[in-house]
């Protein structure tokens, strides 16, 4: 395989892992959102459904993020190094969120079942479930706007704060949160046994789906100013129309399926919609992994490393795919 194809394959693997993390891990964070917003006569049962849904799988889902990081520093070390410097603050805060979400969720499961104890851990779990996706989105938004930088004599704020504390990254943070909550609501609607509970999450899914339109529109408008590369490509490229079309079709299909209570179809369409948004972003900054200058070729590790990692991914998948299939069959095997 020529070197540029190798690098492209591994860049695609990074994106595919991020995609899996968003669809699986993202929905676990979304579950935390619905834990916080649980309400009405079935409040406790909503929370129990969230806990049952994410309990057995959140740790496995979380490993996708580790895979993204590991692939990035092995195959595109310059990208990893610059991201780690420029996004030190949002990434550190995101880590705090990851730690608090996971540990508070586990502590809640195994601590006293008394209401006040459960509520205390629950609040940390839910709060962290909201903060973490926002910070992940902010980081992605900063990458897309090409503003990640390393210090070259400027002030602290100029390098470490201002690039990500901008309207566009914040809007991407909001969009990420809303999409995660949307995915979670759709999945939970499919997983709820009881019709009343299913209706609760159907309403939430509809609300989040509509909010996602709003958040996406906001991010797109702000991209014009803050992320011109993404803006121009999203509007002007040859592939832009088909990608927008696919996103729109899946988005409308998801809402229609939710409306008509077709939970399994809604789950598929929602996942496809979010996937289209993610790859739309990736295509819009192609060939840059980290605009304005680091491309998947210029930042790639030596070919021997890429080749070995690709082989490891292939062999690892032979173990991973059946294991994941088994996990989801055991815990999500009920027909929706």
């Amino acid at each position: 395989m020529p070197e540029s194809a190798l690098a492209a394959a591994l860049a695609a693997a990074v994106m595919a892992s991020l995609n899996a993390y968003v669809l699986l891990g993202g929905a676990d964070f979304g579950g935390g959102v619905w834990d916080l917003l649980a309400g009405g006569p079935r409040r406790d049962r909503q929370r129990a459904l969230v806990a049952d849904a994410i309990g057995p799988i959140w740790e496995a889902n979380h490993v996708w993020l580790i895979l993204v990081i590991v692939l990035l520093f092995t195959c595109f070390p310059a990208v990893f190094a610059r991201l780690s410097i420029g996004l030190h603050i949002p990434l550190s805060l995101m880590l705090v969120g990851i730690v608090l979400r996971g540990s508070a969720f586990t502590f809640r499961t195994y601590d006293s079942q008394r209401d006040d104890v459960q509520r205390r851990w629950g609040r940390i779990f839910a709060g962290a479930s909201i903060g973490t996706p926002v910070l992940l989105g902010i980081s992605v938004g900063t990458i897309a706007s090409g503003a990640v930088r390393v210090p070259a004599g400027e002030g602290f704020a100029e390098v470490f704060v201002r690039p990500w504390l901008q309207p566009f990254p914040l809007a991407v943070g909001l969009l990420t949160l809303v999409l995660f909550a949307f995915l979670a609501a759709v999945y939970l609607m499919a997983e709820a046994d009881d019709p009343a509970l299913r209706e609760d999450f159907r309403h939430r899914a509809l609300g989040a789906g509509v909010a996602a339109f709003g958040a996406a529109a906001l991010a797109l408008v702000l991209a014009r100013e803050d992320a011109p590369l993404v803006w121009n490509r999203l509007l002007g490229s040859a592939w832009a129309v088909p990608v927008h079309l696919a996103t729109a079709v899946f988005a409308v299909a998801a809402l229609a399926a939710i409306w008509r209570r077709r939970a399994a179809a809604a789950r598929l369409a929602a996942a496809a919609q979010v996937t289209c948004i993610l790859w739309g972003w990736a295509l819009s900054q192609y060939p840059f992994l980290l605009p304005p200058d680091l491309t998947y070729r210029s930042a790639a590790a030596p070919a021997v490393t890429l080749r070995l990692v690709l082989a490891a991914l292939a062999i690892g998948s032979i173990v991973l795919v059946p294991s994941l299939y088994y996990l989801f069959r055991v815990f999500k095997g009920r027909p929706a």
């Binding site: 309990g55 057995p56 799988i57 740790e59 496995a60 979380h62 490993v63 993020l65 580790i66 895979l67 990081i69 590991v70 692939l71 520093f73 092995t74 195959c75 070390p77 310059a78 990893f80 190094a81 991201l83 780690s84 410097i85 030190h88 990434l91 550190s92 880590l95 705090v96 990851i98 730690v99 996971g102 540990s103 969720f105 586990t106 502590f107 499961t109 195994y110 601590d111 006293s112 390393v150 210090p151 602290f156 470490f160 590790a301 030596p302 021997v304 490393t305 070995l308 990692v309 490891a312 991914l313 690892g316 173990v319 991973l320 294991s323 994941l324 088994y326 996990l327 055991v330 815990f331």
Partner: protein, 447 residues
């Protein structure tokens, strides 16, 4: 506190915190699997209950291990971007493999913890086996990467840049085998004897408790062999360090002058300025024998290293002494338990052994912390031995004392929560009557 010290402190605190949970995540699945296997073989419900109760503690520890491990994988870049840019292509390979091992571990731990009623007992046991195997594999891969920092291989340095990179050669670095062996044995010894210590402590209060007697037996089966083998693995490690990292060995042994027939120093407080170690007991020729298997072998001292490139000698020496002392204690206690088992006597009937085990509960973990201090602090001022200095690898981000303080507070809070929850899990052990013969149960009811 300058930024370099803050970054090193943050990394050190993060590693010291994570290693405890990582070790439990390697060791506990073995204990659970042994207990569950005994249940399937004997039908004794106590073993099943044991596996279930241990699995709750494991769930807590594993979750904290997973999230604290995530912190570390980010911190490699957040604190040492230059190091990662240099090392990623060379040594990222074992991290990628570790990613898959961690995947398998997390997947089947989910199956194990939540699948008691969903899958067959056999399938459940196999899920546990996969957690145990992949946990050990994760440890091997991560420690291979650490070993590479001590004994870098798989590239050539040209103008400060790596060329001729070969990730497999990097994985096969000279320190990889001994260091991974030492760490995996340490994980089983620390976890097995830590759990044995807790149950020994509870047995001292209630010697007839069947639950704790079974628990003690399983924990000793997992921990004692590793603790007995550990000194042998330690000897292999010492010989490897002598060969590949002379400065570290010199610091461990406070050997200021290169000499043939070097003595082994026990205790003492090395004074780098004067080049002596007051209060130390010298065992003549012992260091030459241990390091090279020859009483007259020359052992290189710190005089061969520029003074500015010495690691913190008193700290490394002391950490090494602590590790060896604790490891020796655990090996001796384990030998005693093995001797009793050999004589077909139940270790749970030996009160002095129970006391010794209870006293040893934290020792395996303390030995691991001390051992990592030797490895990591003993390599300073290098982040990649002889190749890249720690000071040149640190992030240009200023004010690192802020994240250091912040993450340290986070770890303190997590530690408090974990201690609280584990205490609760341990105290929740049902009274002995729950499994005792009906007669005894009646007696207990009357009392």
């Amino acid at each position: 506190m300058n930024d370099l010290l803050a970054a090193r402190s943050q990394m050190g605190v993060s590693l010291a915190f994570h290693i405890v949970f990582a070790v439990v995540g390697i060791g506990m699945p073995l204990l659970m699997v042994v207990a569950e296997w005994r249940h399937l073989r004997t039908g004794d419900p106590v073993y099943l209950d044991l596996a279930k109760r241990w699995s709750k503690g494991t769930a807590i520890m594993f979750a904290v291990g997973a999230v604290s491990g995530t912190i570390l994988s980010f911190e490699l870049g957040l604190l040492w971007p230059t190091f990662m840019e240099f090392a990623g292509p060379i040594i990222g390979m074992p991290f990628s493999l570790e990613g898959f091992a961690f995947f398998v571990e997390a997947i089947f731990l989910g199956v194990y913890l939540y699948g008691w009623k969903r899958i067959s007992p056999r399938a459940h046991l196999w899920a546990g086996v996969l957690v145990a195997v992949s946990g050990a594999a994760s440890a091997v891969f991560v420690v291979i990467a650490s070993a590479w920092m001590n004994a870098p291989a798989g590239f050539r340095l040209v103008d400060g840049r790596p060329v001729d990179v070969h990730p497999l050669a990097a994985m096969a670095n000279p320190a990889a085998f001994t260091q991974t062996l030492h760490m995996v044995l340490a994980a089983y010894a620390a976890t097995g004897l830590g759990v044995a210590g807790i149950h020994a402590f509870l047995l001292l209060r209630d010697p007839a408790h069947r639950f704790h007697r079974r628990a003690l037996a399983v924990a000793l089966v997992a921990g004692a062999p590793a603790a007995i083998l550990q000194p042998i693995s330690g000897d292999l490690s010492a010989k490897m360090v002598a060969r590949t990292q002379p400065a570290k060995l010199a610091a461990m042994e406070a050997l200021f002058e290169t000499r043939a027939g070097a003595p082994l120093l026990i205790g003492g407080w090395p004074d780098p300025d004067r080049g002596e170690s007051p209060f130390a007991i010298e065992v003549p020729y012992a260091l030459s024998i241990l390091a090279f298997g020859d009483p007259r072998a020359e052992v290189r001292g710190l005089d061969q290293v520029p003074r500015a490139d010495w690691p913190n000698v008193p700290f490394v020496h002391l950490s090494f002494q602590v590790m060896v002392a604790l490891g020796t204690y655990l090996a001796l206690v384990s030998l005693r338990a093995a001797w009793l088992a050999w004589r077909r006597r139940d270790p749970a009937d030996d009160r002095r052994l129970l006391q010794a085990l209870a006293l040893g509960t934290p020792m395996g973990f303390l030995a691991i912390e001390a051992g990592w201090m030797v490895t990591e602090v003993g390599r300073q001022p290098w982040i990649i031995a002889g190749v890249l200095r720690t000071a040149d690898a640190v992030t240009p981000m200023p004010g690192l004392v802020v994240p250091f303080t912040f993450f340290t507070l986070l770890y303190v809070a997590l530690t408090a929560a974990v201690v609280w929850l584990m205490r609760r899990q341990i105290l929740e052990t049902p009274p002995a009557e729950a499994w005792a013969a009906p007669a005894a149960a009646k007696e207990a009811a009357r009392a």
